[in-house]
Each structure stands twice: as structure tokens, then as C-alpha cells.
């Protein structure tokens, strides 16, 4: 696996992990970290939105679906309404087609079942051309 300072400008890819489960956050952050991605964490949809309101931007957002205060569907809608163009990948354990579609419809670019693995993350990065 090539070390991924893959982007031609040499700047690090940034990612935001949005999940209320800190076990998942620890794992997903470590995964991204190993791939050379700089990451931040938000514990729910509202925190993710607030981060963007304060001017922060991320290349990639990993959005959990079920969270307190503001869930992933609401947060994704909100971010898209704010004009956020980042790649947003929905991450959840839900496997019912309808529920996945509902999540996708809120503005996701992709959906993955959690927990993520290195190969899932790499396939996401390939889709957005960040890795060869």
C-alpha cells in the first residue's frame, strides 16, 4: 500500500468523523490516521454543523445516522443547504434498503456499513480520486 501523501499539492486530506459512539470514533480515526488523513471528531450532527458554521472545512465527512440532538439525516441536509460540497459518506448499521435510501436522499455521496475497515475507506478514497 503506497503511503498516501497522494494529493498532488502535498497537503493532507482532512476528514470529520461524526458519531456519538466514542469506540467507533477511536477506531475510525485510527483507520484514517493510518492512511495519512488528518481527522477531527464530532459527537453528533449539531456539532458537525457548528464546526462548519465556524468556518471549518473538510475533504471527507463520515456521518453516522443515529445520533442524539441532531441525527445524520438532518445534519447532512443542513450541511448541503449551507452549501457544503465535501464528500459525505453515510456510515451506519442499518441494512434495510428503504432506510439506506432515505439517508442517501439527504445528500450523501456514498454509504458504507459500519464498522469501517481499511479496504472500505480505501474504496471511498479511490472513488474521490485521492488515492491511486
Amino acid at each position: 500500500m503506497a503511503t498516501s501523501n497522494g494529493s498532488s499539492t502535498g497537503t493532507k486530506i482532512t476528514a470529520l468523523v461524526v458519531d456519538d459512539d466514542r469506540v467507533i470514533n477511536a477506531i475510525h480515526c485510527k483507520l484514517l490516521n493510518k492512511l495519512g488523513i488528518e481527522n477531527h471528531v464530532a459527537a453528533n450532527g449539531k456539532e458537525a454543523v457548528d464546526l462548519h458554521c465556524s468556518g471549518k472545512k473538510f475533504d471527507l465527512i463520515l456521518m453516522d445516522r443515529d445520533m442524539p440532538i441532531m441525527n445524520g439525516i438532518e445534519a447532512t441536509r443542513e450541511l448541503r443547504a449551507m452549501g457544503v460540497r465535501s464528500i459525505i459518506v453515510g456510515v451506519s448499521t442499518r441494512s434495510i434498503k428503504q432506510e439506506i435510501q432515505e439517508f442517501m436522499d439527504s445528500g450523501l455521496d456514498d454509504y458504507q456499513e459500519k464498522p469501517l475497515t481499511s479496504s472500505k475507506v480505501i474504496s471511498i478514497l479511490r472513488k474521490i480520486d485521492f488515492v491511486d
Binding site: 459512539d21 469506540v23 467507533i24 493510518k34 448499521t93 464498522p115
Partner: protein, 152 residues
């Protein structure tokens, strides 16, 4: 030298047992693969988080099931969380009970829920003990100058 090999053998056998008995699944291997020299305690750290969160959730569940008027949505939310975090560290048996638990929640079946709470407490307690034993064995291998033979 011999003692290291013996300890490593013990570790390998114990781990295999946990997988065979369904206490752990492949997700645990994924965690091991994320561990490296820059973060040699990663697995222990994540599992410790899991222990803390699970104990909190189990307490909340016990409280919720004692209420006069049961809030099934709250219970479901807690179980959903427990299911998520147990699956993320590979604690397969805990995860399985959570699935059954959620079904009883949907049916608003109080007895089923209470039974599942007991079951999930048992499974959690079992996997906790086994993981603690696993980590102890790892420590012994390292203390004897050996290295951990992941993946197994």
C-alpha cells in the same frame, strides 16, 4: 527462550478458542491490524472505552426497565448503541443478544426485554473477563521478551 514460545503458544491457543466459541469475530482482527509501534496499546485503549461505555449503557438499561411506565424508544436507543460498539470491537455474542433485545423492544415485550438484559449482562461479563485474560497473556509474552504473533 522456551518460556517465550510457551507463552506465545498459550496466547495463540486462547485467542483461537475465543474465536471458535464466538466471543470474538473478524472485527477484532481488524483492530489488531490497526495497532502499530506508534500506538502499541491501541487495542487495549479501544476495548477499555468499550468496557466503560457498555457499563454505563447497562446501568441505563436496568434503570429504564425499572420505570413505572417503560420508555421503549429510550431502551431501543441504548441497545442500538451497545450493539454498535460491541460489533465494532468484534464482541459477537453481545451483539447477537442486542439484536434479539431490539426485537423485543419493538414488540414492547417487557419480559423479553428483561430476559435480554440479563443475557446481555452475562455475555458482556464473559467477554470482558476473556479479553482481560487475553491482554494479560499478551503482557506476559511481552514481559518475557517475546513479540505478539498477530495476525493469528
Amino acid at each position: 527462550m522456551d518460556s517465550v514460545v510457551l507463552l506465545q503458544r498459550q496466547l495463540v491457543d486462547y485467542t483461537a478458542q475465543l474465536f471458535n466459541e464466538g466471543f470474538l469475530d473478524d472485527q477484532f482482527n481488524q483492530l489488531q491490524q490497526l495497532q502499530d509501534e506508534s500506538n502499541p496499546d491501541f487495542v487495549v485503549e479501544v476495548v477499555t472505552l468499550f468496557f466503560e461505555d457498555s457499563e454505563r449503557l447497562l446501568n441505563e438499561l436496568a434503570k429504564a426497565l425499572e420505570q413505572q411506565s417503560i420508555d421503549y424508544r429510550k431502551i431501543d436507543a441504548h441497545v442500538h448503541q451497545l450493539k454498535g460498539s460491541s460489533s465494532s470491537i468484534g464482541a459477537q455474542r453481545v451483539q447477537k443478544v442486542c439484536i434479539a433485545f431490539r426485537n423485543y423492544c419493538e414488540e414492547r415485550n417487557i419480559e423479553g426485554c428483561q430476559k435480554c438484559l440479563q443475557q446481555v449482562k452475562n455475555e458482556y461479563s464473559l467477554v470482558k473477563t476473556k479479553l482481560e485474560t487475553l491482554f494479560k497473556l499478551e503482557q506476559q509474552v511481552l514481559a518475557a521478551g517475546g513479540s505478539i504473533p498477530w495476525p493469528m
